[in-house]
């Protein structure tokens, strides 16, 4: 309960002003394509040089929470996921925006974000010591199985057929091998110097999601202009709240999956949204509605990616190990004020630690309020004529890809992947499984090699990867996931053949 004692500090005039500024600025930065939460926080660090430690961290904490949520804006309205966390949001969110329900999608995403986010921060406040042990429990073998579990999701994610889903997942896995291999330093598939660092995930996201869409809009030409103006439905916040409460399953699964997976160092943040989306779909009674603009999809994805914010800081705050890229940037923000995370932080600087955590709690609420306020206005983006929209999205995509590491190489990568994806989509492949392959490939590979090296020096590969409680549990989940997908595929096939026979 110590944190309540420090709540006052958040509301001192300057701190609150910074919190407000961080939240609004964070929403804008988060909504800008190419600016991931990690980059937004890194951009703000120099500003904290001149602030007190507490105030600097309030700014960073508020910016972190709201950039994660802000990413939903571009994901829903423009189909550009700002960060890997927002991929799952595009699947249903952008469909809703196209149906004129953009305001509803945004309101739901901000409400779900706040609900998930507050739960996550509360976990951070009350269960930190327990969570720290959980974060450390995942060694290379477990992370490997976790990545494989992610691969099993690929088949069922946003695809017309399991086979096409798996195929695009494989393309993603291959793309992930490009560049210098991080462990051995071997060069793979580097045909051009700009591929030396591998395919940047943010540039790839922009290319795979936004560019096919731009090409489709351009391909339609100006003929259909006017005919396709979407009527943007007004949607009251009260209705959105009611809708959210009617979907406790999506919210619950999203929040819990997000907090549990978000905790695992190095893996969590990127796949929490997608895994939560997939789980919600599997447990839902309206499976067929997913991917066509279903509100449960948006709720689960956004609840998950904000729920992960609090737990993702556990390894940093307790063990002084940054578990995610954003946490690494926050570590820099702490060190610059001479504060070492770990027991030192909570024992000797409780004011800094608790004010920082409190600011994330208050930040969630502020973020939700501002988000709801702009949701109605922002949704009108859908009314912009397609030809103009295509140009705007293209400009934002180029800007976003370039700004990741100030490199034209990333822009070319984005363009090539985008054009490739345009044709793949024509054949019924979709971008989400491909991106999942791109994210999971390196995780699975690095942990297999690393685990293999440890195993060879100690107990041997089979014992290392196949024994131990957590390994067996994860393998069981993997098998169950594959069996479930196969069963669903067989069942739907039987139905379709029956219908065809009747027709």
């Amino acid at each position: 309960m110590e944190f309540i004692y420090y709540f006052g500090d958040v509301f001192s005039p300057l701190s609150f002003l910074l919190l407000l500024g961080g939240t609004i600025g964070g929403l804008i930065l988060g909504a800008t394509p190419g600016l991931s939460p990690t980059m937004a926080v890194a951009l703000l660090i120099p500003f904290t040089f001149h602030l007190e430690a507490v105030q600097g961290l309030i700014l960073l904490g508020a910016a972190y929470t709201s950039t994660v949520a802000g990413g939903a804006v571009s994901a829903i309205l423009l189909k550009i996921p700002g960060a890997p966390a927002n991929i799952a949001t595009t699947l249903d969110g952008h469909k809703m925006a196209k149906q004129g329900k953009g305001a509803k999608a945004l309101q739901l995403s901000f409400l779900a974000s706040a609900a998930g986010g507050i739960f996550g921060v509360l976990l951070l406040i009350f269960l930190t010591p327990l969570l720290a042990e959980w974060a450390l429990a995942f060694g290379p073998s477990h992370l490997f199985w976790l990545a494989i579990l992610g691969v099993t999701v690929i088949g069922s994610l946003d695809s017309a057929s399991v086979v096409k889903g798996l195929l695009s997942g494989c393309i993603g896995l291959w793309l992930a091998t490009i560049g210098f291999d991080d462990i051995m330093g071997a060069q793979r598939f580097i045909f051009h110097p700009s591929l030396g660092g591998g395919i940047n995930i943010i540039a790839a996201l922009i290319g795979l999601f936004a560019i096919p869409q731009v090409l489709t809009m351009f391909a339609k030409g100006r003929r259909t202009e006017g005919a396709e103006v979407i009527e943007v439905q007004k949607h009251s916040v009260l209705d959105a709240t009611r809708e959210l409460l009617r979907r406790p399953r999506a919210l619950g699964i999203g929040t819990i999956t997000g907090s549990v997976i978000g905790l695992i160092p190095g893996v969590g943040g990127q796949i929490a949204g997608l895994v939560a989306y997939d789980q919600t779909k599997k447990f839902s009674s309206e499976k067929e509605k997913f991917g066509k603009g279903h509100s449960e999809g948006v709720i689960a994805a956004e609840a998950a990616n904000n729920a992960m914010v609090g737990p993702s800081l556990v390894p940093l705050l307790t063990l002084s190990i940054p578990g995610s890229p954003t946490a690494a940037v926050l570590l820099g923000g702490l060190l610059i004020h001479g504060i070492f995370p770990g027991s030192d932080l909570f024992d000797n600087h409780p004011d800094v630690a608790w004010t920082f955590i409190n600011s994330m709690l208050v930040g969630q609420v502020l973020m939700c309020l501002f988000g709801l306020y702009v949701a109605g206005l922002a949704a009108r983006v859908a009314q912009v004529p397609q030809s103009v929209m295509a140009a705007i999205v293209l400009a934002l995509s180029v800007f976003g890809a370039y700004s990741v590491q100030s490199s034209m190489g990333d822009v070319y990568v984005m363009a090539c992947l985008g054009i490739g994806m345009y044709f793949l989509e024509r054949f019924g492949f979709s971008a989400a499984p491909l991106v999942l392959g791109l994210i999971l490939g390196p995780i699975a590979e690095a942990n297999f090699i690393q685990g293999g090296m440890i195993a060879d020096a100690t107990v041997g590969k089979s014992a290392y990867f196949l024994t131990g409680g957590l390994n067996i549990f994860l393998i069981a989940v993997v098998v169950a996931s594959i069996a479930y997908s196969a069963w669903m595929e067989l069942r739907s096939r039987r139905y379709t053949t029956k219908e065809e026979a009747q027709a």
Binding site: V41, L319, A328, G332, A446, Q450
Partner: protein, 319 residues
């Protein structure tokens, strides 16, 4: 007539050259860091360049640009091949990383591609074990490794970086074979492996290990440097513990420019930058962040690079 024109042109060029050096810098300068934002190199680069805009320093701010990837290779490749050699594009170097990578091959740079300006920091590699480990000194580690050849696992941040060099040197000095486990995700991932008990020990940066020891998570058994560190006065060096490990693995960080940068500009930078690093505000921030400073001038860095290249070539020859 021709002679006159040529003479005038020569004079003008001379003037322009002199004027360029005198006016330099007349616009903000960019410094490329080949690691991600928030990493130790990036963090320190931002601190040591924060006073660049002062009148007694360069009088112009230095902006940090990150080009991360492949253990720094992406950024240094870019710097060697595409950066303008006009003095407005600087880069941070990490020795021994880039020298080891150039010896190992597959990159477009070598120590000759760059001109050093000054060195700001030196972060030695240290040997850490988990707080509950039975090892209490390097002698314990070596004894265990002798009894179980190839079975003692210890982590580090990848191959051909300072940690790996230290690992090779320790193995060579003790005459034992151990299992070096390179991690993806840098020193943080390697440290996590030690704390979580996935490996029996690890090589890590002194600054990160110091923090982890303060938090009560690890024990630091030895420093791979020539003398003890001010941060860890109680931890003996490897040489004090009978292991012949010098400072080849110490992670030196500093500033460099591309090879063909005008000599006047190099001279101006070489004169100003070390003083900029010595600013007390910089020292205070570096101290607070647990980052050891070690300021060296251009001539000293040149010698250090040459010495490193020599040792690394011998050390990596057998790999």
């Amino acid at each position: 007539m021709k002679k006159l024109i040529a003479g005038a042109a020569m004079a003008l060029m001379g003037l322009a050259g002199a004027a360029m050096a005198e006016d330099y810098p007349e616009r903000p300068i960019m410094m490329m860091v080949s690691y991600g934002a928030g990493g130790a190199t990036d963090f320190q680069a931002r601190i040591v360049t924060m006073t660049a805009g002062n009148e007694d320093a360069l009088g112009m701010p230095i902006a940090i640009i990150n080009k991360p990837g492949a253990g720094g290779r992406v950024g240094w490749n870019w710097f060697a091949t595409q950066a303008d050699a006009d003095g407005y594009t600087l880069a941070a170097y990490n020795v021994p990383h880039f020298i080891a990578q150039s010896i190992k091959g597959g990159v477009q740079y070598s120590a000759e591609s760059f001109e050093p300006i000054a060195n700001w920091g030196a972060d030695p590699a240290v040997f850490v074990v988990a707080a509950d480990s039975p090892f209490n000194s390097m002698a314990d580690v070596v004894a265990h490794a002798k009894e179980n050849p190839g079975k003692l696992t210890f982590s580090g941040a990848g191959l051909f970086v300072g940690h790996h060099i230290a690992a090779l040197q320790i193995e060579k000095a003790a005459g034992v074979k151990m299992a070096y486990i390179p991690t993806k995700g840098g020193g943080a991932a390697a440290m996590k492996a030690v704390i979580a008990g996935e490996v029996m020990g690890g090589i890590n940066n002194l600054s990160d290990a110091f923090r982890a020891q303060e938090a009560g998570n690890v024990k630091i058994l030895g420093v791979a440097d020539l003398q003890r560190s001010d941060f860890l006065p109680d931890v003996p060096t490897m040489q004090e513990q009978g292991l012949d490990v010098d400072n080849s693995s110490v992670n030196f960080r500093g500033v460099m420019v591309p090879k063909d940068t005008p000599q006047e500009v190099i001279d101006k930078l070489a004169a100003t930058v070390p003083e900029m690093f010595a600013n007390p505000r910089v020292a205070k921030k570096m101290q607070a962040g647990g980052s050891p400073m070690h300021i060296m001038t251009r001539d000293e860095v040149k010698k250090m690079w040459a010495a490193r290249e020599q040792t690394l070539k011998e050390l990596l020859a057998g790999l």
